[in-house]
Chain length 136, copies 2
């Protein structure tokens, strides 16, 4: 580690800066929790349907394992993004829906979604260029 | 799997909908790549400094392993988010900087960052409530 080399100066940036290191650490923790592929895809599935059963979410998020879906839903419930309702019917029915907080995170992620849609072609081109260079 | 149960109807939603399943699949793939804690934290480090060496990024992204940093930077380079420049000096110096595409992704993620800052307290409260319920 080149610890003696100072960091380049910071610059004008599009990122908010809370300034308080404790707040920064908490934000980093929260970002680490929500900036996750599965969280984002489950958010999208629940944003598209008012409420969903576990098996429905599994259908709408292709590739997710039952274990990862259980774990991600539980973390989302713990973070207050998702409400889980158990209906006392036979057989028991469990519904998931976004909370108001989950809805606002969905709206915030929307700009990332739009970015991905708008830049698909540039990303594909960048990958092809990278792969052709790597193949030389 | 309750395959016979139809999905609830879709509703008015804040998410864009490309409609084309091929585009949807590509967007999901891209989201899966970029909606990642380490990608987001590296984006932030590079957004704050014009260019950074590997060891600097490692300092600014606490908790990342050397292997994960190497792998994430390589994927970000492949996706066209990061430029890697090798300077022919002794010892050789390698700099990383955001491309224009990386800058726009940083700006899109900014709303998620602001969401995390604005909702820290609600998330902490939700977690405490969940944990106290779980402890009963």
């Amino acid at each position: 580690m080149a610890k003696s080399v100072p960091l380049p100066p910071t610059r004008q940036k599009p990122w908010p800066d809370a300034g308080d290191p404790r707040v920064d650490a908490l934000v980093t923790d929260v970002i680490g929790r929500v900036a996750d592929k599965w969280t984002m895809l489950i958010l999208e599935a629940l944003a598209e349907h008012e409420h969903l059963r576990f098996t429905h979410i599994a259908k709408l998020v292709p590739g997710i394992s039952q274990k990862m879906l259980t774990q991600t839903l539980r973390q989302m419930e713990r973070d207050g993004l998702v409400d889980r309702t158990v209906h006392a019917v036979i057989p028991p029915r469990v519904d998931y829906r976004l909370t108001d907080l989950g809805e606002t995170l969905g709206a915030a992620f929307c700009s990332v979604w739009l970015w991905a849609e708008a830049n698909l072609e540039r990303i594909e081109t960048a990958r092809a260029t990278f792969d052709s260079r790597a193949a030389i």
